[in-house]
Symmetry: C2
Subunit: 354 residues, 2 copies
């Protein structure tokens, strides 16, 4: 029969087990406050009735939702997909649901209100730092001191929970990879300046160039916005340079791919004519041609670690006075878009015009 069978409630379990609902509830939430024997009877009753607890009722009573919000700027960007993957895995293994919130616009507090004031969610995993973080923090503090963990971006502001990558340091290692191949004339394609982490990458580039005693030419620093076609346009800009670098560091993979595709169009070869290194190691990087050398961000770890940290805070398992601050190291992944400078190794030869 397809009659709508009502879900069993805690009452049904209590009746079945011959105890009060209070005891059943305790057996579920604080098992050590219930005697061994009763606990077993209750477990049997739960199995017999097929009971699962009603989240809405628990949330209402506990004033806690069992859900976190993951706010991302653009779910359409594949960069987030593997992060989403790991966030979901971590959250669901701890019994939490994940509400994904995409492309928030305007005043973030009106949107926070929807989720948090109405107790739909207990914490925020924030990937989008174009938002006004100060007002968000104020809002969250005023509404039950709900925690925020910022992921994947740098934050000057103190006291914020942060999980990110070592963007500056990793970009330095990208430069040094090129230096190790004999390159001295190295350019850079920047990311959008409204985020901090692309600026960190640029800073890392500048510092590494200085550290290695290399020429830092401003006309070799080409602005981009992380999208593929800005890399493509950067390629056009590169082609018009009177004197060109022999290697480029791109602030992310998409731009590196766009860049390469533009210079290939113009008949240049990568890596023979120009070495290119990207950043992130997105899924695409290994399949473009040539396969891209890049600094890998540990995206799965970013998701898992930040989620774990957020839930620890939500559950009060962490001293709120000590904000989380975790910086993951990126890994250099060498593929085929970088190669030794032709004729290097013995003497830094003058650049050849083909």
């Amino acid at each position: 029969m397809t009659v709508t069978r009502k879900s069993p409630t805690i009452q049904d379990v209590a009746r079945e087990a011959g105890v009060s609902t209070a005891t059943v509830s305790r057996a579920l939430s604080t098992p050590d406050r219930v005697s061994q024997a009763t606990r077993e009877r209750i477990e049997a009753a739960i199995a017999a009735t097929g009971y699962t607890l009603n989240q809405a009722a628990r949330s209402l009573r506990r004033q806690r939702a069992g859900t976190i919000v993951m706010a991302i700027p653009n779910a359409g960007n594949p960069y987030y997909s593997s992060i989403l993957d790991s966030v979901l895995a971590e959250a669901s293994s701890r019994g939490y649901g994940v509400l994904v919130s995409n492309r928030v616009q305007g005043d973030p507090t009106v949107w926070l209100r929807d989720y948090f004031q109405s107790s739909r969610a207990d914490g925020l995993l924030l990937f989008d730092l174009t938002l006004d973080i100060a007002s968000m923090r104020r809002f969250m503090t005023e509404h039950g001191n709900l925690p925020i963990v910022v992921v994947g971006d740098e934050m000057v502001e103190p006291g914020i929970n942060l999980v990110t990558s070592d963007n500056r340091e990793a970009t330095g290692r990208a430069v040094e990879h090129l230096v190790g191949l004999g390159h001295r004339n190295i350019g850079f394609v920047t990311g959008p300046t409204m985020h901090d982490y692309p600026n960190e990458r640029l800073l890392g580039f500048r510092q590494a160039m200085g550290r290695n005693g290399l020429p830092l030419r401003e006309d070799w620093i080409i602005p981009g916005d992380h999208r593929m076609d800005s890399g493509y346009r950067a390629g056009s800009a590169f082609l018009t340079l009177a004197e060109r670098p022999t290697a480029m560091v791109c602030a992310n993979d998409e731009m590196a791919i766009g860049f390469i595709s533009r210079v290939q169009q113009a008949g240049l070869r990568c890596p023979q004519d120009v070495s290119v290194i990207g950043f992130d190691d997105t899924d695409m990087a290994q399949y473009v041609s040539p396969p891209l050398t890049t600094m890998r961000q540990k995206r799965a770890e970013l998701g898992a670690i930040s989620t774990a940290a957020l839930l620890d805070i939500v559950e009060g398992m962490r001293d709120p006075a000590k904000p989380v601050r975790i910086i993951l190291r990126c890994d250099l992944v060498v593929r085929s878009s970088t190669a030794p400078l032709p004729g290097a190794a013995e003497a830094p030869a003058p650049r050849l015009r083909r």
Copy 2:
């Protein structure tokens, strides 16, 4: 003061507006059952107190969560990201949250239980048909007749709500695009056979080949699993063929990209030596080299339409006796990975070795 200020409740609004909570509730849910004047007073009171309703309480009382579940096989696959995007947009515009559920394994009912029996969610958007759909339907029927909408896959089973693309027909058009370019020897790289839609694509290929009187050679039908490296391996298989097709239809873009990258490695040029057409038009397709000709699935529409349909059912705005069945047409997107067969048009010339 950073003291935790309690969220205003419907009581506060009622007091402020000088009415009962019942009236406030009605003003929110069924505004036409409340007089103009009172409604305005209540709206003012809501603004004054900063009230937002407590979802947990509403869910508990209404036995409805205000949330849907989106079940996908692999959030790490960028194919889903733009769908996710549109699902989120549609759901949130109607006041619903979206819980994303990734990579369900094993018996789906134990996982359904978590979400649905505990009234965490009101409906299911199902993208993953490797699951046992019959038992899922039974479960959902037994628990308050919760609706399922299957997205992006074919379903033989009748009575199921379905939103998908015209995979078979579109693959036929892909073949005819190649035929129009003069190709007669056409191969195919298949998708994983445990889903229905890749089989539909294969079937569409076979039918179109027959319809156009073209040779259908089984050794030109190369198995793949939709992942990029299976396309790469298909490229290797292609290279070992004694006699090769002049064009390939790949069951999705990833495999087309993998395929092209493999044959390019072997020194073949695309499209001069072999034309390749993909399926889906993922974000990557336009940026690889050569930019990929492909059949575009309207992914944003898939997400938006299926979500709208699901919510219509949830809200009882649709006759449950008439299941949804929407098939979206794919669009041919011509880029540079397909080209006229050299020497075609006048006479089907024998293939040239470079």
